[in-house]
Amino acid sequence: MAGDAVFRQEFPVKGGDFAKAGAVACRIKDLLKELGLDAPIVRRAAIASYEAEMNVIMYAWEGRVKLAVSPGEVRITVDDKGPGIPDVDLAMTEGYSTATPEMRELGFGAGMGLPNIRKNADAFRIESWAGRGTHLEITIHTNGHQL
């Protein structure tokens, strides 16, 4: 029975689709609220998934955001097909950004994306293959979630 208690949903994200920026994060946020998670947990998941979604929109060709919620944790996995990140350690530095001037003009690319995901996650894993794509795994515990 416990194995059944995982809610999964997948959301496709298209690279360059700035008009839909934040739509996936917003749906994830609404779902987590409906599942009864505490507001601070929902907010951390919303911020982390927004940054992850934006990374796909800004840099990749296409990607998928997968949400898996079990009573103990929220896991957000993002796989994209894209250029990948040549130096992951450097990309994890606050303020480092490869955003184009156009992206910055739109208010994106302050170099806070990946660090911000790490800050809001309880566990964060990133793997990237140059020229192929990036895989992110964000885990947020729902410990505060005592119902």
């Binding site: 994060a25 917003c26 919303a46 911020i47 729902t142």
Partner: protein
């Protein structure tokens, strides 16, 4: 009075309701269902935005505001109108004439709100100076925005800037001064807001940030309009006198408060962004909740289009009303009528602050038990796949997803969908 979360100023008149789906489809919080041929509002979800009131073609949605006759309970009647009223009577009627017409129809005194609006702008700026974090703060003038945040964006409650709106501050000042000046017991003095929307009534009867509202009620501008118009028509000579000897000095900074962007027009050192309309407000609050817009100091949100001037209980075509108010703003220019020292004194005495912060109001999750909530969410996805995705509303829910949600919550049945039924047959 502590907040009773489910008090509402909007109700459906059953006799007039024909059970169509107009109100249900425009409701931004999906708070309406049509059951047994009548629309029904779900109290927990309603934020009193008035969209249903705007869109009902059968006049079946009514708002509960104070009646003029109810003021007879008071020995002395004071009106604090919204500045929206200045835009209601054409392009040649001056604010002073309108205030004077309100006195003639039965108010003992009427106070211009523009000065207090200016006071508020200055107090908000002082607060921003003293509080560099968090960003952005969100204004509390629109009671619907406060209620929306409490229910849909609970994490943003702490970002609501804790200065009371002008209508409450004006009433608080008058409540402190008038009993002594008039030698009347406070309960004999009725202080009434003249409102362009029903939500002000909710903030008076069920305040989110005060123990008790300083106002005794709110009369709809729509209700009082005919009497004011009539009185204005009868007083041409009086109008000439008001033109030549104006008795109130209007604030140029406060005059435009009822227009979107008006609350922050007087800002000198802060970046403010104004959003109006309920859908756009929700879109922007979604962004704030995702951690965006932190480079903005203040977000001014009003759920009516173009600000309070687009309120459902005003009368004039909102574009004309807006144009008239802009004329008045231009005429008053940057004229300030408030002494900064007065504001600072009131501010530091906490006279302008909330009694208590805005508290989140829980919207019921799918289930209180986390495992059962997850199982219900999974079942809901399966149901959504079975539904036609036409979002026609024939089942009594605003869209297919909401029907699926109602089903897993035990509030509806799959058979309520006429398309699913057909396939079975």
């Amino acid at each position: 009075m502590k907040e009773t979360p489910h008090y509402h100023a909007i109700h459906i008149t059953k006799d007039k309701c024909v059970g169509c789906v107009h109100c249900m489809t425009v409701c931004p919080t999906k708070a309406i269902r049509v059951k047994d041929g009548k629309a029904r509002i779900i109290d927990e979800y309603c934020i009193d935005c008035g969209e249903c009131l705007r869109f009902c073609p059968y006049d079946a949605v009514h708002s509960h505001t104070t009646s003029f006759a109810a003021l007879d309970a008071f020995a002395y009647k004071v009106a604090i109108p919204s500045t929206v009223i200045y835009g209601q009577f054409g392009s040649t009627t001056l604010p002073n004439e309108i205030l004077s017409a309100l006195r003639r129809i039965g108010f003992d005194e009427v106070y211009d709100p523009s000065a207090i609006c200016e006071l508020n702008t200055a107090a908000i700026e002082e607060y921003l100076n003293e509080h560099p974090q968090p960003r952005p703060f969100i204004t509390s003038t629109c009671p619907v925005v406060v209620r929306l945040i409490q229910r849909r964006y609970p994490a943003l409650c702490r970002q609501i800037l804790p200065i009371e709106p002008p209508r409450e501050i004006a009433a608080k000042i008058l409540r402190a001064i008038l009993p002594k000046a008039l030698h009347l017991p406070p309960e004999k003095i009725g202080i009434i807001h003249l409102t362009p929307c029903p939500a002000k009534m909710v903030s008076i009867n069920s305040p989110a940030t005060l123990e008790k509202s300083y106002l005794d009620g709110a009369i709809s501008i729509r209700d009082i309009y005919p009497q004011v118009l009539n009185s204005l028509r009868k007083s041409q000579d009086d109008a000439l006198m008001r033109h030549l000897f104006p008795e109130t000095l209007f604030s140029g900074i406060g005059m435009g408060w009822s227009l979107s962007g008006g609350e922050t027009r007087g800002f000198k050192n802060h970046r403010a962004v104004a959003v109006s309309g309920v859908q756009d407000t929700m879109r922007v609050l979604d962004q704030v909740e995702a951690g965006l817009l932190q480079d903005i100091d203040l977000l001014e949100c009003t759920v009516c289009p173009d600000g309070c001037v687009g309120g459902p209980l005003q009368v004039e075509n909102r574009f004309l009303a807006k144009s008239r108010i802009l004329q008045l703003v231009d005429a008053a220019g940057d004229r300030a009528v408030i002494d900064h020292k007065d504001m600072s004194r009131l501010y530091h005495k906490n006279f302008l602050s909330f009694d208590h912060p805005v508290a989140p109001v829980e919207t019921p999750p799918l289930d209180r038990d986390p495992v059962r909530a997850i199982l219900k969410a999974k079942r809901r996805e399966k149901l959504i796949a079975k539904l036609p995705r036409k979002d026609c509303g024939a089942c009594g829910a605003p869209d297919c997803r909401t029907l699926a949600d109602d089903i897993v919550r035990g509030l509806a049945r799959l058979a309520d969908c006429p398309f699913v039924e057909k396939e079975k047959r």
